[in-house]
């Protein structure tokens, strides 16, 4: 047996595993077991319905869009918080975390009121461009950006802080222009953090229910998200069917996160 520098290895790993099992593994296992009550054919039939496929495509598509849309904004916010000094910086810093704290239903109702065709933003947008945001898939993306943004900011921020100004200054002394320094020095260093921030924001957005439900319009085949379909199946007392959609989301999310983690590793290796 190897001697470890930190004592209490067995105890700490034991507590950690017990905790993870009780809170994460057992519920997930229950979810993974439930759908098979209806047999393999039943699960496949239940998942290959057009409405299920449409809702899965919608949930994952809008979550990916929201993650992508949050990337530049999140990066800019992190940059402003770390590198710039301006009055109200601390307030901005605090506001970034608000979506974590706010009940998502409150966010959903506020965003719907704002973007509805008679809302403060919805009315002028409709008048000027004919855009309809609330009660369309665009509204879903707006709600998901709201929940995903803080994840990007908070993962990029510490890496940017560690990077320090000196790397950019060194690039400048070697003759790089501002855009070159950003593109060749800052962004590559931040890329792994951006990927993991995207992954966290995406994962959070895929499962989001509370805020989306108010703004989506919930039309089958158009703006019906997969978590709503789970709720609908539960309303029909179809526990196994609900669990099947849940399991599909779990597997898809896991595949996306795994791919992102491989991408992150490649990016790190590329830099080393």
């Amino acid at each position: 047996m190897t001697v470890r520098a930190i004592p209490g290895f067995g105890l700490s790993i034991g507590i950690a595993l017990l905790w993870v099992s009780l809170i994460v593994l057992v519920p997930l296992l229950a979810l993974a077991v439930k759908p098979w009550e209806m047999g393999l054919a039943g699960v496949l039939r239940s998942l290959s319905e057009e409405r299920v496929l449409a809702s899965l495509a919608l949930s994952f598509g809008t979550a990916a869009l929201a993650g992508l849309a949050s990337l530049p904004v999140g990066l800019l916010l992190a940059y402003a918080i770390v590198r710039l000094r301006f009055p109200g910086r601390r307030i901005l810093d605090g506001m970034v975390d608000l979506p974590f704290a706010l009940p998502t239903a409150v966010a959903g109702i506020a965003l719907t009121a704002l973007f509805a065709p008679n809302g403060w933003l919805g009315a002028p947008l409709a008048a000027a461009f004919g855009w309809k945001i609330a009660f369309t898939p665009a509204g879903i993306v707006v709600a998901l950006v709201f929940v995903a943004l803080p994840f990007i900011v908070r993962t990029v921020e510490p890496v940017l802080r560690d990077l320090g100004r000196d790397a950019e200054e060194a690039a400048a002394t070697l003759g790089a222009t501002r855009p070159q320094a950003l593109a060749r020095v800052v962004l590559p260093a931040l890329a792994p953090a951006l990927v993991s921030g995207f992954g966290l924001g995406f994962a959070r957005a895929v499962g989001e229910y509370g805020s989306v439900i108010f703004i989506a319009g919930n039309m089958p085949m158009v703006s019906e998200i997969a978590p709503l379909l789970i709720v609908i199946r539960l309303e029909q007392f179809d526990y196994a069917g609900a669990a099947a959609v849940g399991l599909a989301m779990l597997v898809l999310s896991f595949a996306v996160l795994l791919a992102l983690s491989v991408l992150q590793r490649l990016l790190r290796r590329g830099r080393a």
Binding site: S46, E49, E50, R51, T112, A113, A116, P117, N118, G119, A134, F135, I213, F214, G217, N218, M219, P220, M221, L228, V231, I232, R233, L234, E235, Q236, F237, D238, G241
Partner: protein
Amino acid sequence: MPKTGLALPRRALLAAAPFIATGASAQTPLTLLNVSYDPTRELYRDYNAVFARNWQAQSGQAVRINTSHGGSGRQARSVIDGLAADVLTLALAYDVDAVAERGLLARDWISRLPSNSAPYTSTIIFLTRKGNPKGIQDWGDLLKPGVSIITPNPKTSGGARWNYLAFWAWALRQPGGSAATAEEATARLFRQVPVLDTGARGSLTTFAQRAQGDVFLSWENEAHLALQEFGADKFDIVYPRFSILAEPNVAVVDQVVDRRGTRAVAEAYLRGLYTDEGQAIAAKHFYRPRNAAVLAANASRFPAIDLVTIDDVFGGWTEAQRTHFNDGGVFDRIYRPGR
């Protein structure tokens, strides 16, 4: 003074100890849990106070009634999953049936109380913008081009199922009406629905506050509540000539009352809804009383319209649910692409 700070709670605990002990052994305060659906909040707030007073006078026992509200289906599921409801007062028989299927109450619950175990009834009517600018008078007017209709999703809302079935029953009654023409008309209706909220209250918000839609298909009592809430100058209530008789059912949950020893009070609670006093409270909150005398006394609030029952048109809830709302049913077909 840390010493007194410590001593006080201890003294308080000692003082309370005898009460806790007797409370546990002799007389636990009598409580009753009524698991209900969304729009009955105001009704049961009134009725609970009246019943508690009556029960105290009659039996000398104090009773506290807790009422839980939510979407009817979700409430039924909570009870199936273990919420200890003494009585159910839900939006439709199907949800009570779902609980009965799990063995929590007798399968024949519906015949245990008068009038299909539905002490009050309701129906589906229209709420339009003030002045009814689109001229919506009957179900057929909903299909006029340019009319936008707000209803919740029948998959998640009990009220929305009544909306759907009322329209279907109307379509069947049209000259040459059949299941095929009714399905066609219903598909057209839902193509004119821009937003499907999950519950009736959400839909009302969409209609009243987000200004979506020209007409809101509503429970009769919710429509009157909306007028009180948002002002009678904003909306008009329109009674179609024909609608469906919605019977929100009540039942005692046998397993729970037998375990908790609350059968007597739970049964009295539901029977009280059928008394003149209970019926008057229902009428006050715009639920149609079963009692003819109470109904006559409130005739101005409940215009007489032609009402069909779900048993007559659809052969009962189980059948209606299976044909229309289960996965792969008619409602799903409406949204299948390529239509």
